[in-house]
Symmetry: C2
Subunit: 154 residues, 2 copies
DNA sequence: ATATCACTTGGAGTAAACTCCAAGTCAAGG
DNA sequence: CCTTGACTTGGAGTTTACTCCAAGTGATAT
């Protein structure tokens, strides 16, 4: 005999289970739902019951978020998803644009990382030989190039 | 004869010149100074006069900011810088820690970018063949692997 | 001399993304 | 029946990083 309580209907997770699975707090999951970042989550007796589908949606959201897509854009994406087949073109557009953004971001990070690596080397040298040993910027950059084979542009 | 006005003392930039050079707004530069992210900028007749030194400081700040170091940490770094030689060890520490963070961030971005690339392929395929052609997740992932030689882990 | 213009200050306001809280509900165990 | 505990809601508060504003100053152009 089928039960209507969420405990018994076989598949579905409570909010606390979803928190464990995703690493989000319950407040954040509720906030995301309110903000339209998740497909409408089913209720049983007033409580949220998450499906595996919901979990995958959350994963995409996480991925988009980690790569810096603002919540408003994620929301837009989710709204497109709900509109089904006819929004595929727009979703493709959105993903392509975001992919380009992510690549740009990675390039920026790469360049900055090089400069930070130089700073690490700089302070290592300064720690051993004193700050005066690295006072002359041009000479220090040249020395860095020689010692590490890497260059850094100012 | 030496003048005391900032226009005549040879080296130094006004805030608007610095804005052009760095891309920041005047408000942001003032905000950064107030927040302790820059060494104390010299004044001439009440106006800020930026040096090349200041410019380099701003560049470092930009670099740290772009890689996600919060302003509070940047402020701490700048305070260490002002303490001279005896803070070199701490500055090294800070830079090393941040470099590790940046590397972690790049790894995350790489993984997410792979998933987004898959989504792009997914919607390209869906656009040509309809959403039903990519309905089965496992089959679609396999097809993606075959067609692109790339894998994506869920 | 006066108007213009870039600058000054302190402080208030904004946007994004949570994060916390109070008050209430609901099912299960003792 | 009563308590417990995980959940519900709406709404207020927080943090970060700016961004804007009003009122004022000081040098230069007409």
């Amino acid at each position: 005999m089928k039960s209507k309580t969420h405990k018994d209907d076989g598949v579905g997770y409570s909010i606390s289970q979803m928190c464990k699975r995703t690493g989000y707090t319950a407040d954040t999951l509720r906030f995301y739902e309110k903000a339209g970042l998740l497909p409408d989550v089913r209720r049983a007796g007033g409580r949220r019951v998450y499906t595996d589908e919901d979990y995958y949606s959350i994963c995409i959201v996480t991925c988009l978020k980690k790569t810096g897509l603002p919540l408003a854009e994620i929301r837009r994406y989710m709204e497109l998803t709900k509109r089904g087949e006819r929004s595929v073109g727009q979703r493709l557009e959105l993903m392509r644009r975001h992919e380009a953004e992510v690549k740009k971001k990675m390039d920026v990070l790469r360049v900055c990382e090089e400069r930070i690596a130089f700073k690490v080397w700089y302070y290592e040298t300064a720690k051993h030989e004193g700050l005066k040993a690295v006072k002359d910027i041009d000479a220090t950059l040249e020395r860095y190039r020689c010692e590490t084979g890497r260059k850094v542009d100012f």
